[in-house]
Symmetry: C2
Subunit: 429 residues, 2 copies
Amino acid sequence: MKPLKVALLGCGVVGSQVIRLMHEQAGDLAARVGAPLELAGVAVRRLGRKRDVDVDPALLTTDAEALVTRDDVDIVIEVIGGIEPARSLIVSALSRGKSVVTANKALLAADGATLHEAARTGRGDLYFEASVAGAIPLLRPLRESLAGDHVKRVLGIVNGTTNYILDKMDSTGASFTDALEEAQTLGYAEADPTADVEGFDAAAKAAILAGLAFHSRVRAEEVHREGITDITATDVASAKAMGYVIKLLAICARSDDGRSFGVRVHPAMIPRSHPLAGVREAYNAVFVEAESAGQLMFYGKGAGGAPTASAVLGDLVAVGRNRLAGTRGPEESTYADLAVHPMGDTVTRCHVALDVADKPGVLARVAELFAKHDVSIQTVRQEGHGDDAQLVIVTHRATDAALTATMEGLRELDIVRAVASVMRVEGDE
Amino acid sequence: MKPLKVALLGCGVVGSQVIRLMHEQAGDLAARVGAPLELAGVAVRRLGRKRDVDVDPALLTTDAEALVTRDDVDIVIEVIGGIEPARSLIVSALSRGKSVVTANKALLAADGATLHEAARTGRGDLYFEASVAGAIPLLRPLRESLAGDHVKRVLGIVNGTTNYILDKMDSTGASFTDALEEAQTLGYAEADPTADVEGFDAAAKAAILAGLAFHSRVRAEEVHREGITDITATDVASAKAMGYVIKLLAICARSDDGRSFGVRVHPAMIPRSHPLAGVREAYNAVFVEAESAGQLMFYGKGAGGAPTASAVLGDLVAVGRNRLAGTRGPEESTYADLAVHPMGDTVTRCHVALDVADKPGVLARVAELFAKHDVSIQTVRQEGHGDDAQLVIVTHRATDAALTATMEGLRELDIVRAVASVMRVEGDE
């Protein structure tokens, strides 16, 4: 059987695992695809660098463009990340009818349209399971297993770095800075942690998830995004005292009328009894709520060389089979073309801690303000007294716009010394 | 666009939901498949019966064979269950080149080979996501997402009825009989609960899972099967006292040398900290352990009309797309052709409670017997004294044969009055 030739772009943490596994599992992969997979070349930035895997030096090249356009290459695996040159290389490959497997969430979320269009015109496959939640089979279930269902909500922990940091803060009482430093030491966070801690990585994944769940096109810039850098040890401790844990969540949810949806990434308090509360260290977990299926949960390793390579190789087998059968996998599905509604229209709940003057009528004034904005209060608890009096309020569900307006109003009330903390509450409706 | 014509076999709990959803989501399904899906006919046992869904009486027929062989039928959905006439009808359809979506675990596990062979020769698709774990996307991830990985173990709760019963026994202290009765009242257990409580249903699912995980053919009769009917409130309480919970598990695991695998269904004690311990009521959850991906977990509703229909419709969209593209999904993969090893070769651990005479040297005699069978003891605890003395022992890992021989030896020891309970321990190695 004629082998399928595979070009690999990138030989870092993921790429080196892809090479190792393609070699070690060559027999199994050939049996599952129906033909041997042969590494045609590996595009790298520098030829001489030491690598984590044995690779024939003759396969290495710095000319990625020449590699992806080679006539004998059938499939291109892109694991270099970033927007350029990844986009140009993928488009080059797809427009020549090659199939592409990519783990590039940033590119898919920034400009997926260009990639899908190139796949459509070139008649190649574009697979990207590894782009969200690493080894966890999540995109294929959304795209195929749930194709006969109506997805209402996707809610999950899709960034391992921030989950590691928040988990450490929760379990040891560490500050954000200390927890981040530990994550960096252990290799869970990069030297420049911005993409993770500011929520950019999770936002890109949320855009991809929302697009698949709602059959619409979503770009990263449409995702409401808040990171975790402002979360203090006090926030974590006070959440803990109330039976909550703080997680960075990606949430994609249809509006009640089903005509639009919201996509957002922000820290939120979830009850400790919620299954996502038990997701420790750098693990990922995603809830999917569909009309007929009900609640589903997917859990596993969201990052790392081998787990990501597992997802890449699963896609490689799929596109390999498709090429041998002369067919293609499911195309991008955007027929529903729903709008992303603004964050203000999102319905959520809020936990707020207020430092207040301890005098009669304070609660009445505060309650009046909530009522003015049509935000109903679920629980209120007064802590301390005198100068240290604090009101801790959890609201019922309201639009984010109403909640935001309420918080602004509270800041202007003379009896409120400070709004000590504000955080959304999810997962217990 | 010419519609794809769908024949439905069975109009019970699942079939009626399939009809409802095909009707309610007709627009979405057409957009996702690429052509409208049209119900060509519904085979039922009795025409006049009242149904849970509005269905055009002109579509109903008692002649299932005539329906599946109609020239205009493209896809057959089989949700009648059981071996015959389901097998003959599916083979008739497949051998005529039609595609089949089935939820029939019993048939797949008893004689999947015949069905897959018919699909291969007829060039139609055979999809069966709904046969295991209802709405949870599990078979497609195993078959496709993990196609580039090396699955080592699948361990899960795949029968909702027994999980409901064991959960009630655990949370309320109820006896098996009372918990079963409650499950029957609530519709979680059937009037004749044999298939569930004796583990036949879980064993069929285990056979399907093992076949996919290890790329080999597995029949239900090769699955070691023990039910939950002998579990007493005392077993549950003593497991609880030791920090364990009893669950009916389906376990498919490769041997250490990778050349064979075991498939078994039996009750086992798992630590309360294990994620499967938290699976309540009639929910299902399955752990998959793969070499590169690590541990993955899938959780959701394992049964019920709408959840099962969700899985059926997902498959319906997939086979519909395939027909329009003139292609087929992945065929049965049995290239590895590994053998199922006997239960005695399975490596597991054991919890045993012994009523013993309270005299010096008892523990030494018991320990000697374990040593004779090469079974090493992890913990031993003595409870009570005098005539009520009980030794509670948890072993380290050993073959099931050695553990069984040890238990037989214990029953013959004069100082052992009775072996009060024996149960395997899983999930904490």
